[in-house]
């Protein structure tokens, strides 16, 4: 493993049990200020509603908590540690100024119900972000209420449904390409639509003839990701939009891959009627180990009356306020106004970039993906030769001959200091290896990644077992997911034995030869 030393070495990784295993009565990490009002008889106030005992909640000191979570943190991979080439996830740098401004007192401590008069700063942030996003997407109206991408999809399809309802017929089906994210069909089902699969053609894009054949007046919308999950721009987008519109359908765009388009082309200009954005992808709000996200939904004028309430409006006196009187609204999709803290961060990102920065960002993202493609073509099978935008999808076809699959290669990447790419998705590519570098990677980091991928391809030829049992450098080896699902242990219980090998050393602490 000599060639690995450029990128990855090991360091000591402290073992750390569950917090409950450190707890003992009398330890405390808290101290309350003395009560400045008379103490109360809780039994008298609460009667039978009084709680006597808090079960197995931990009792630990502050330093133990700091060490506990700091140690746990060192077991994570993160953007701050290196490249995260997850396709369709857009794992880009999360600027720290975003975090700083979101913690300013009047922003972090604003109550959602404080008077409008003392909420003008928050409302101005919502307004400014909304305007920027409308300009970026080329759409007419926007709601920031949805809490994540899938929540945005739900909102978008509810708008589609409300629109068709208002015209007297809700329609029955939503068309979804076979390359789509799983959230698309799951969302359509939640809105009461039947899902009809739309086949991709040999180029990996929408088959226009199939679309024409499947489009009729029962189809409410087509949910399209553009560029699609292969990273290919739907070149015939104008035809797609025309076919839908001719029969009264709407074009929904999943904005997951918006990082390929910002500042270069606007969905509103190529026929999209409704779309969602992922602020935690394109607009740099941190992924936080799985959330929070934010999924604004932008629409054309025709869908505006149906937007969730409340809607932000400018009042005649120049102040901002919320309009709740929206008779055609689909209603609320979330309490209050959405994940406001993410709006702050996304806006800080847009302000840091400006028009020139956003365009350069998109160009670099596309440049990086094509650089990887060029360098790995031949080493890995490229199932679709259509031009790539911000991501590229290879397959494990060449390595599978030796019994090495996409997941094995992905796990082996960990040993080289990288997070795996997206495996086994999109479903239309058997053994898919979906790579999205984003703009945040330097040429040096990309070169290391390419080098690692080439080295793994060579290992797959020479030492398949090495790849198939990877990773070898992590504190745990591949975990038994089948056992986890068969007999789920979803919480700690008193008396649960700490794993017998808990205190065991990581596989090897010996310095690399």
């Amino acid at each position: 493993m000599k060639h690995m030393t450029r990128k990855a070495t090991r360091h000591v990784s402290q073992n750390e049990g569950l917090i409950f295993e450190k707890s003992s009565p009398g330890k405390a990490a808290w101290k309350l200020a003395p009560l400045d009002v008379p103490d109360v008889d809780t039994q008298k106030l609460l009667g039978s509603s009084e709680r006597k005992d808090l079960g197995n909640m931990p009792e630990v000191s502050e330093i133990e908590i700091i060490r506990h979570f700091t140690r746990l943190s060192t077991w994570n991979y993160a953007i701050d540690l290196g490249m995260y080439p997850l396709g369709s996830c857009t794992m880009k740098y999360n600027p720290r100024v975003n975090e700083a401004v979101s913690r300013l007192d009047g922003i972090a401590n604003a109550h959602p119900y404080q008077p409008e008069k003392s909420s003008q700063g928050a409302l101005r942030i919502i307004k400014t972000l909304g305007e920027c996003l409308l300009e970026i997407t080329g759409m007419d109206a926007i709601t920031l209420q949805p809490a994540a991408g899938a929540h945005g999809e739900l909102t978008g399809l509810l708008l589609v449904r409300a629109y068709h309802d208002s015209r007297g017929k809700p329609r029955k089906k939503v068309l979804i390409p076979d390359s789509a994210h799983g959230t698309n069909p799951a969302t359509a089902a939640m809105v009461g639509y039947a899902v009809e699969n739309l086949k991709s053609n040999a180029k990996g894009i929408v088959d226009i003839a199939a679309l024409e054949a499947q489009m009729n007046d029962e189809v409410a919308a087509l949910m399209l990701t553009n560029p699609n999950t292969l990273g290919v721009f739907e070149q015939e987008i104008h035809k797609i939009a025309d076919i839908l519109h001719a029969k009264g359908g709407l074009l929904y765009m999943d904005g997951a891959n918006m990082n390929a388009l910002v500042g270069k082309v606007r969905p509103g200009d190529f026929g999209v009627d409704v779309m969602h954005l992922n602020l935690h992808k394109t607009f740099s709000t941190p992924h936080g180990g799985g959330g929070p996200g934010s999924g604004p939904v932008a629409v054309k004028k025709t869908l505006e009356p149906f937007l969730p309430k409340p809607v932000l409006v400018s009042k005649s006196d120049g102040t901002l306020g919320f309009d709740y009187d929206r008779p055609q609204s689909i209603g609320r999709v979330r309490s209050f106004y959405g994940n406001f803290g993410m709006f702050v961060r996304a806006l800080a990102y847009i302000l840091a970039n400006g028009p020139d920065g956003l365009r350069q960002t998109t160009e670099d993202a596309v440049l990086n993906a094509n650089y990887i493609r060029k360098n790995l073509e031949g080493t890995y099978d490229l199932p679709y030769s259509s031009a790539s935008m911000h991501e590229v999808v290879f397959s494990d076809k060449l390595q599978a001959k030796k019994g090495v699959r996409t997941m094995d290669i992905a796990k082996r990447l960990i040993d080289y200091g990288f997070h795996p790419y997206t495996t086994a998705f999109p479903l239309i590519v058997p053994g898919a290896m979906m790579i999205e570098p984003t703009e945040s990677e330097s040429k040096e980091e990309l070169d290391l990644f390419v080098e690692a991928m080439k080295a793994i391809a060579q290992e797959a030829e020479e030492d398949t077992e090495l790849v198939r049992t990877a990773p070898h450098s992590t504190r745990v080896s591949r975990l038994d997911e089948t056992a986890a699902a068969r007999r789920p242990v979803l919480r700690w219980k008193p008396g649960a034995q700490p794993s017998t090998t808990l205190a065991a050393e990581p596989p090897s602490l010996k310095p690399e030869a």
Partner: protein, 458 residues
């Protein structure tokens, strides 16, 4: 652009390696007619110092430094500083969803601990890794009960947070789920008898909230008895998580939909917050959202993985239990650290302080105005009815840099000039006394105005 790690020479070299003449070659797949050949009309690129200034200005416009009596689903509690210190570590902040377990054990183990503590506090057997917020958690919990019972209709108490009810009604709109609303009784609670009467053989579940929107603690045991006797499920929403430190959890509920914002999450003008669903082990396969489970690696070493993924959209697509994908992981980590800091004893003491401040405030307000629903236990919120419009009272209080209680007229017109006040450990006695003084003043002036009128009439 300072976030982009490339020199012009790097870009040149990369284009050359690709075999492209210019960057435009790479955008050739986009039909020319749609390409944007101008700058976006957004603010120009700003320096970091300018960005900070811009947001400082917004922060000031938001009335920073105000004390607040607002609760109503979003609570102002003290946040131990180690929360931000720890969640700001890049390894937590900038990590992806922990699908790759070998390099995500930090996130996975912390979620496992979160699930455990939520179970301990709620009295449930399993809890998920988080939902968007309390309102969507409640809607998803109701849909879960619909799947579990095979029944379609839902009974909702009117004392559930009005915005939670609005979200539920949006979610239910195309699921063929009729919603029936049951009003609260004189004492602010829903009556078990009324609930009983509203349940039909098609009722999947009853959704109540405790402490409810008025801060009143519902009689969960009595409700559970009638709901279960009719073969329906009881879903309980808990928007004020700190209540669990001193209020008996709804152990006889079938599903709990919680909002964990009170556990160390900033008010942040309404989000991001942290919803959670907790339930019985028996129902776990119909649960929405991510779950972390314990397992072992090839060497028998304990480790954690995302599990039971066959419920989820990326595997099951249109047959999934929900479309939820991204959740609120980092916010759940805040809640996790908060629960760890206060722990078994601190959480109880914290809740006790909330109770004491609220009891004192209710007593003081009660000297000058009517305290509604006084006969039943409450946690840290109470309703007062004033003679004057609460908006007018609040507007004067704002002059003291105090934000008064939440006027209830908007959601409950029949309650007239009532407002909902919340006291936490952050509410000082002097704040309470100032607010009470203001209400007393208001009542005096209304009274003297009335007397004057009577005088004139005589």
């Amino acid at each position: 652009m300072r976030y982009l790690p490339k020199s012009p020479a790097d870009r040149e070299a990369m284009l050359k390696a690709i075999g492209a003449r210019s960057i435009d070659d790479l955008f050739a797949p986009i039909p020319a007619e749609y390409r944007l050949n101008r700058d976006l009309k957004i603010p120009r690129q700003m320096a970091e110092s300018e960005i900070v200034d811009w947001f400082r200005e917004r922060s000031r416009e938001n009335g920073d430094g105000h004390a607040t009596f607002l609760g109503a689903g979003a609570y102002y509690h003290y946040r131990p500083v180690i929360i931000d210190a720890l969640i700001s570590r890049g390894e937590f902040l900038t990590a992806y969803t922990p699908y790759q377990a070998e390099i995500s054990q930090g996130t996975l183990q912390s979620i496992f601990e979160f699930q455990t503590m939520i179970c301990e506090l709620t009295g449930m057997e399993v809890a998920n890794a988080s939902m968007y917020d309390g309102s969507t958690a409640a809607a998803e919990a109701v849909m879960m009960a619909v799947r579990l019972t095979g029944r379609r209709s839902v009974v909702v108490a009117r004392s559930v947070h009005p915005e939670y009810r609005e979200v539920l009604s949006t979610y239910a709109s195309h699921q063929g789920m009729p919603l029936a609303i049951v009003n609260f009784a004189e004492n602010g609670r829903v009556s078990a008898r009324e609930i009983e009467n509203s349940i039909s053989s098609d009722t999947a579940c009853v959704l109540v909230q405790s402490p409810n929107f008025f801060g009143t603690i519902e009689d969960i045991e009595a409700l559970a008895d009638v709901v279960h006797s009719k073969g329906a499920m009881l879903v309980v929403a808990i928007p004020e998580a700190v209540s669990l430190g001193i209020v008996e959890p709804p152990r006889s509920a079938d599903i709990i939909a919680m909002e964990a914002q009170s556990f160390g999450v900033p008010l942040g003008f309404g989000g991001p917050y942290c919803g959670v669903i907790a339930t019985r082990e028996l129902y776990v396969r119909q649960m929405p959202g991510r779950l972390v489970g314990q397992t072992t690696d090839r060497n028998g070493k304990r480790g954690f993985v995302l599990t039971l993924a066959t419920r989820e959209q990326h595997i099951r697509r249109e047959k999934a239990t929900s479309n939820i994908c991204t959740n609120q992981a980092l916010i759940a980590l805040m809640a996790n650290i908060f629960m760890t800091v206060y722990g078994k004893v601190g959480l109880k003491e914290l809740a006790r302080q909330n109770l004491a401040k609220t009891a004192y405030a209710a007593q003081q307000f009660g000297k000058h105005s009517e305290v509604l629903f006084a006969g039943v236990p409450r946690f840290n919120e109470f309703v007062i009815r004033t003679s004057e419009d609460p908006y007018a009272i609040n507007s004067r209080l704002l002059g003291h840099k105090i934000i008064g209680g939440f006027p209830l007229k908007k959601f409950y017109p029949e309650l007239g000039n009532s407002s909902l006040w919340c006291c936490t450990e952050m509410t000082s006695r002097s704040m309470i006394d100032t607010a009470v003084g203001n209400v007393a003043e208001s009542e005096r002036s209304v009274r003297s105005a009335r007397e004057e009128e009577a005088e004139v009439a005589r």
